[in-house]
């Protein structure tokens, strides 16, 4: 069962030496952090490594968290930098957040699903598939906006860019996601015919 204490209360307890309070913080945020890491890593093993690395880094720097932003915003900035440096280390072909015209990615992380299972082939299945095909930055910005409960300003803070730039990037990411989704659905319709 997860703690009902706020993030700040859990941080205070952690700083006072209570490690179980930090375990509660990890439990609270792990699902989102893991999803965000998966947007960059595109496979579960690397995403798990990034997630673990992030939480250890966050623990080390917890005393430096200035509490001017939400803990989640601060944590997502760590996820972003950790994921980017991990990608660089692993020399996985990825593009910069400013790169708009790169070819569409990579490994389909929904490949583990049973594609012949008709139940899986709902619109949400295609949506997840389309997100998996987006560039990591596009997928991350959409995940942060829709699932991270982050405002444009908070996303800007987490990614270290201007709020207006986030707005433009979010618009473009949505466009690409829409196009991908339509393409996947069209492809599926053709296959059925």
């Amino acid at each position: 069962m997860q703690s009902k204490l706020s993030d700040i209360e859990l941080i205070d307890q952690t700083l006072a030496g209570d490690q179980s309070a930090y375990a509660d913080l990890v439990k609270r945020h792990q699902r989102f952090v893991f999803t965000l890491a998966l947007r960059f890593a595109k496979n579960r093993e690397d995403a798990e490594e990034i997630t673990q690395d992030c939480f250890v880094k966050a623990y080390r720097s917890l005393a430096l968290f200035q509490r001017q932003s939400k803990f989640s915003t601060w944590l997502y900035s760590i996820v972003y930098t950790t994921a980017m440096s991990s990608l660089r280390k692993k020399r996985v072909a990825t593009s910069s957040i400013d790169d708009e015209d790169n070819a569409i990615q990579i490994e389909d992380n929904t490949a583990s699903f049973d594609v012949n299972n008709a139940e899986n082939k709902s619109r949400s299945y295609y949506l997840n598939q389309a997100i998996g095909q987006l560039l990591p930055d596009d997928a991350a910005i959409i995940t942060l906006f829709y699932k991270g409960e982050q405002s444009l300003e908070e996303i800007a803070q987490a990614l270290g860019i201007e709020a207006n730039t986030v707005k433009v990037k979010l618009f473009r990411a949505r466009q690409r996601l829409k196009e991908r989704l339509e393409r996947n659905l069209k492809h599926e319709a053709k296959e059925l015919i």
């Binding site: 375990a23 699902r31 999803t35 949506l127 829709y146």
Partner: protein
């Protein structure tokens, strides 16, 4: 100039000014193209919001806490020494030195003689008297022990760095 979609997304996100919001809502009411696009984007928005988060491995929290515990255990002793204690000890020594200095300066009789007479009365100690055979041998023996100790410490450090 922003496209219809861009304006509509701003409207949906609530990131436009009240004046823009009013204009767009009027356009949605009156313009068929705007209304169709708005409904399309609204559907997409609710679909994007319904994206499910991925489930992390069951042992993730345990692994994180284990990594943190391991990091704590590996911390060298010098990193865990309280800096306050070190500062306290240094402060004690500085204070003692300052007090001793003040006491010795206060106990000097400055009027006892001039600088010239002090220098004239000053005699260098006869060092040859102290440098007898056993003293030199003892000094050399101490040097040799110290040298061996430092050499041993150097070799140990080298083998540790090679292992790591």
């Amino acid at each position: 100039m922003s496209s219809i979609e861009e304006k509509l997304w701003d409207y949906i996100d609530g990131s436009c000014t009240p004046a823009e919001q009013e204009t767009i809502s009027l356009l949605i009411e009156q313009d068929e193209i705007y209304r169709a696009k708005y409904l399309e984007l609204l559907t997409l928005d609710s679909e994007f919001a319904a994206i499910e988060l991925d489930e992390p491995p069951m042992a993730l929290t345990y692994n994180v806490m284990e990594a943190i515990r391991a990091e704590h255990a590996q911390k060298p002793l010098k990193a865990t020494i309280n800096l306050g204690i070190i500062k306290g000890i240094s402060l004690f020594f500085v204070f003692t030195i300052v007090v001793l200095l003040i006491v010795s300066l206060a106990s000097i009789h400055w009027s006892a003689g001039s600088a010239g007479s002090l220098l004239a009365n000053f005699k260098l100690p006869d060092l040859a008297k102290y440098l007898s055979g056993p003293v030199i041998k003892g000094f050399l023996f101490f040097d040799m022990i110290l040298g061996l100790f430092l050499f041993d410490a150097y070799l140990r450090k080298r083998s540790i760095s090679k292992q790591s």
